[in-house]
Amino acid sequence: MNGLTPSTLYLATAILLILMGLAAVLVKRNLLKMVLGLSLVDTGIHLLIAALGAHPGRTAPILDDAKYLADPHTLLARVNLVVDPVPQALVLTAIVIGVGVTALMLSYVVRLYARRGSLDIGEIGRLKW
């Protein structure tokens, strides 16, 4: 396991999650399973973004310790103490958006099921060509 950085591990896991989810979307015929797959993809994406900001040994970007409050010229020193907060902000947003999309998709699934009586993706191909 030499040379395996945490970043690589996280990224690899994220990629596998994404691929797993996409595979479900591409192969599974059940609508709910497809939405579940997309949920996995979402999770993978979140992990991927966060992993891009990962930096082993650095702490969360919360400056609640007095050591961060030293005089102004050490301001820049903080940069080397905490991880990049931007990807975290992005993931935060992405998670909320993701749940919104998931909820909407599920309401579609529920409505489609009510109308068509099936969860088979093949059943909703009435519009084509």
Binding site: T5, S7, T8, L11, A12, I15, I18, L19, L22, A23, L26, V27, L48, A51, L52, A54, H55, P56, A60, P61, I62, L63, D64, Y68, L69, L75, L76, R78, V79, N80, V82, D84, P85, V86, Q88, A89, L92, T93, I95, V96, I97, V99, G100, V101, A103, L104, L106, S107, Y108, V110, R111, A114, R115, R116, G117, S118, E123
Partner: protein
């Protein structure tokens, strides 16, 4: 066959993603994030940098995010809309024990949620997390007492006003700070690590928390029982074929 082809194509996507991994290793933060880390505390007064970014530096994103949630809840309601004259299904009531437990736990959970977003600028968590906790409390109530009606009127008012308040705060920033959603100059930044610090960030996060909490609760409510109709189950066959 098609599935194998699909998976083969997917493999190419995977290979592309994998070739990006070497570029994803830990690096020093770029100029923008360095600015946040170095000056975030001074400029916004909140010790949680993520919150500073979410609410102030990238506050416009967050407004959008709230909108997304609002939109998907409205959308879910729109998609699952009830036909006119359609009646709710009378559900089977849960046991009294569960109902009582749920009611007892409801208040503390909501309070916990409020705590999370009120302290968003100081500790991990914020409007979204707090809102989610509140929604969980509502969920519990909904699950325990299937006949429970959310106070839709109150929730609606709260949701609308919280959202409007958020935009209004933004306008406050525009009027006073010269920029939409500006923090600086609108309220004093206060002292480090105090509850009443970081300018409008706690206010915004509170509003976000209220809004997200009510929105997610509405979402659950919508998912649980709108759009159900009696004829649903037996109408499948014909409806699937016709139209």
């Amino acid at each position: 066959m098609k599935q194998i082809f699909s998976l083969a194509l997917l493999a190419i996507t995977g290979w592309l993603l994998w070739s990006l991994v070497p570029y994803g290793q830990a690096t020093e933060p770029g100029p923008v994030s360095s600015h946040y880390i170095a000056h975030g505390l001074q400029e916004n007064g909140g010790s949680n940098l993520v919150t500073s970014i979410v609410v102030n530096y990238r506050g416009f994103d967050t407004l959008g995010e709230v909108t997304v949630l609002f939109l998907s809840v409205a959308g879910a309601g729109f998609v699952l809309r009830r036909r006119s004259g359609q009646r709710r299904v009378a559900p089977r009531p849960s046991s009294e024990f569960v109902q009582t437990g749920a009611r007892m736990l409801f208040a503390p959970m909501v309070l916990f949620g409020v705590y999370i977003f009120v302290h968003g600028h100081l500790t991990p968590g914020g409007g979204f997390q707090g809102g989610a906790v509140i929604a969980s409390a509502v969920l519990m109530l909904l699950l325990a007492d299937r006949d429970h009606h959310l106070p839709h009127g109150f929730m609606g008012w709260l949701e609308s006003l919280a959202g409007f308040g958020y935009v209004l705060t933004g306008f406050l920033g525009l009027a006073i700070g010269g920029s939409f959603l500006a923090n600086k100059g609108v309220l004093p930044l206060g002292q480090w690590n105090r509850l009443f610090s970081a300018g409008v960030i706690p206010i915004i996060y509170t509003l976000v928390g209220l809004k997200v909490g009510t929105e997610l609760s509405t979402l659950l409510d919508v998912m649980v029982d709108s759009g159900r109709d009696h004829g649903e189950a037996d109408a499948h066959g014909q409806k699937g074929g016709a139209a």
